[in-house]
């Protein structure tokens, strides 16, 4: 059971400002049924540009509903420019804190507010916009969004990033990339694990094979699994890595692309830039019999 503060429980059982303003100045929508939470925020301004009314509708768990309710309480009566500065941390603090794994609920609140403000300022669609490159395909999280939760909340691990914006919480295929973003933003503070993998470091044969197996287990297999496929490490000979694709991947017409863009790319990224990959087809066929 989650340990929710009394304030979270209060805002869940007695949510404030539920509903939809019929003639709003700004509408913001974020999330989806597939993601497990979604929020629709509508607000109305007075003639001085203050938020005189704000309402929400939320699909989600207790902390999602409480975060939405808290957000509306925070911004009600605020001038729009000030509301635009509200962060997910403000929402979490207002509630006396949220469980670490639920921090993404507060981020959803901030995203909906941003979308609603963008909608008011004109041009923007009322849906929360994906800006820039998508890193986490499972939950549609962009590089920009990941950068933002890292710097606003001083995050240092991939797990934290997943808790805050869900990125990396589906197939897990983007965890390596998230690690890199953390490193870039946090610099030296960041995960030592990734640092140890920096290029140029001399590995013994055993270390190299272990690192290849680890990279396959952590970085490659989850992505293939998401599509009903799989992979086995067959052999390592110098810089040549021999693997066999299994399941759906084995019959896939795009197997060559998977090999180059995923398997080889990840191994080059995490093990050594000199790595090249070959597929062992015969053994795969034999095992599948």
């Amino acid at each position: 059971m989650w340990e929710y503060t009394d304030k979270v429980r209060d805002h869940f059982f007695n949510p404030r400002n539920v509903g939809e303003i019929t003639d709003p100045d700004g509408i913001g929508e974020v999330g989806s049924l597939a993601c497990g939470d979604a929020l629709k925020l509508t607000f109305k301004l007075d003639d001085k540009g203050k938020i005189i009314d704000v309402k929400f509708k939320t699909f989600g768990c207790a902390s999602a509903i409480a975060s939405s309710s808290a957000l509306t309480e925070i911004i009600k009566g605020m001038p729009l420019e000030e509301a635009a500065k509200v962060t997910n941390k403000d929402i979490a603090d207002y509630l006396g804190g949220l469980p670490e794994q639920k921090m993404h609920c507060s981020v959803m609140g901030r995203e909906a507010l941003e979308a609603a403000i963008a909608n008011y300022k004109g041009g923007a669609t009322k849906k929360h916009q994906l800006e820039g490159r998508v890193v986490c395909v499972c939950f549609g999280v962009t590089e920009k969004e990941i950068e933002r939760v890292i710097s606003e909340n001083n995050l240092t691990t991939v797990e934290q990033v997943t808790n805050y914006c869900k990125a990396g919480g589906g197939c897990g295929g983007c965890k390596g990339e998230i690690e890199k973003i953390i490193q870039r933003i946090q610099g030296e503070k960041a995960v030592q694990k990734a640092a140890a993998r920096e290029k140029g470091q001399k590995l013994t044969n055993i270390q190299k094979i272990q690192l290849i197996q680890e990279t396959i287990n952590e970085q490659i297999r989850p992505t293939l699994r998401a599509d009903g496929g799989n992979i086995d490490l067959i052999d390592v000979d110098g810089n040549k890595v021999i693997v066999a694709l299994r399941g759906m991947c084995a019959q896939c017409a795009l197997a060559n692309i998977t090999m180059r863009d995923l398997v080889e790319a990840k191994l080059r990224e995490f093990v050594s830039p000199e790595i090249f990959v070959e597929e062992q087809k015969d053994l795969a066929d034999e095992l599948r019999k």
Binding site: L33, F59, C61, K102
Partner: protein
């Protein structure tokens, strides 16, 4: 506030008779069953009797019963012990809807180069036996398929599967944690080689389980050490747990039919009551082949954790397959394997009953649920008025 406990697939109340039976073994009768003195020896006798009671419920020989620490240990021992005993076979067949105690073990072997086949299920959670048959070959070391699903209660045709697997000379293990005590199992007429049980799912305390190992089944021990359990599971016995499990099996046997009839009546009443009073909800799983105690209901457009918290305020305990309750970001792997749409998977609630539930509790719950559902739907942006 009175607790209404509808979460018996998670754990059950220790039966009062069981509690009475095991009390002395926490205090006065603390001897080690392996000891040579009468003081320890009397405990050894109780363990032998407990073994006989478990064997009686399962219809097997007491020598085929190994006491373990939990259901998970039984599953680990069965799979790892079989693979170690058949090192030349490199394939494992299981299903996509197994409990993590089986699924994570199998997937771990994948990292060691084993080939894992995870059988799929249809939208009612049923297996395709022809698919299973097509995968059975000389390379297969073990087939491990659960007896009944913990989330939906769907019961697989285990006897048929065991027969099919046995005919190819392959070891068959079943995780029967949810089935024992709820549906009749008779191992004397079955082809099952290995079967795991967890004590706390049938009114015994936590921390005890059983692995049934058919005579003549090659199994490499998982826990090494002393000679306990005939050298098949080392470690000083959990004496109160084992004696409690023996008593719990005896109780399950005594009133088997009546009790399960009553539980089924209550489950059906609860399920029908909820379905008839709430719109946009549905039962997950194969209603024809289901445990008598389990109801898994999806409420569309709302989220499971919210429902559970609202129920909790009335003292009603249930569980959910939503992402938020699992601590992960994806909803239940079982419901996803069944192809239940996300709209429904996130809002799934499991009610699992036991012999201790009453009709008043069911009526109370039927009355409390509809306002909770409509309250949460008022909050949901996906419900259009």
């Amino acid at each position: 506030m009175k607790t209404i406990y509808f979460d018996n697939n998670a754990t059950t109340q220790v039966a009062p008779e069981v509690f009475e039976e095991i009390k002395p073994y926490f205090a006065d009768l603390y001897g080690n069953p392996s000891s040579m003195h009468t003081f320890g020896g009397q405990v050894g006798i109780k363990i032998r009797q407990a073994r006989e009671k478990v064997a009686a419920l399962l219809g097997c020989d007491p020598a085929e019963i190994i006491f373990t620490g939990c259901g998970t240990e039984g599953d680990n021992t069965a799979i790892k012990g079989t693979l170690a005993a058949h090192p030349n076979r490199r394939k494992i067949i299981t299903t996509r809807v197994e409990h993590p105690a089986v699924l994570s073990v199998c997937r771990d072997y994948e990292n060691l180069g084993y080939l894992i086949v995870e059988l799929s299920v249809d939208k009612k959670g049923r297996l395709d036996l022809a698919e299973l048959e097509s995968h059975l070959d000389d390379n297969t070391a073990i087939v491990t398929i659960m007896y009944a699903n913990n989330e939906t209660g769907v019961v697989f045709p285990i006897e048929k599967i065991a027969e099919m697997v046995k005919s190819k000379g392959i070891i068959f293990h079943t995780d029967a944690v949810q089935a024992v005590g709820k549906i009749p199992i008779n191992l004397s007429t079955s082809n099952i080689d290995l079967l795991s049980i967890s004590g706390h799912k049938l009114h015994a305390p936590k921390g005890v389980g059983v692995l049934y190992v058919r005579k003549g089944t090659r199994l490499t021990p998982f826990m090494l050490g002393g000679h306990q359990e005939g050298g098949r599971r080392a470690g000083t016995e959990n004496v109160p747990g084992i004696i409690g499990l023996g008593k719990a099996c005896e109780l399950a046997m005594q009133n088997f039919e009546q009790e399960n009839k009553k539980v089924k009546f209550l489950r059906d009443k609860l399920e029908k009551g909820i379905i008839s009073k709430c719109s946009d909800c549905m039962v997950n799983g194969d209603e024809e082949n289901r445990l008598p105690n389990t109801a898994n209901i999806s409420f569309e457009f709302i989220e499971g954790e919210s429902i559970l918290l609202m129920l909790d305020r009335f003292g009603i305990c249930a569980s959910s397959g939503s992402a938020c309750t699992s601590g992960s970001l994806e909803p239940s792997h079982v419901l996803r394997a069944m192809g239940i749409p996300y709209t429904a998977a996130h809002g799934s609630i499991r009610f699992s009953l036991s012999r201790y539930n009453t009709e008043q509790e069911v009526d109370f719950t039927i009355e409390k649920i509809p306002p909770i559902i409509s309250r949460l739907r008022e909050l949901s942006p996906f419900v259009k008025k």
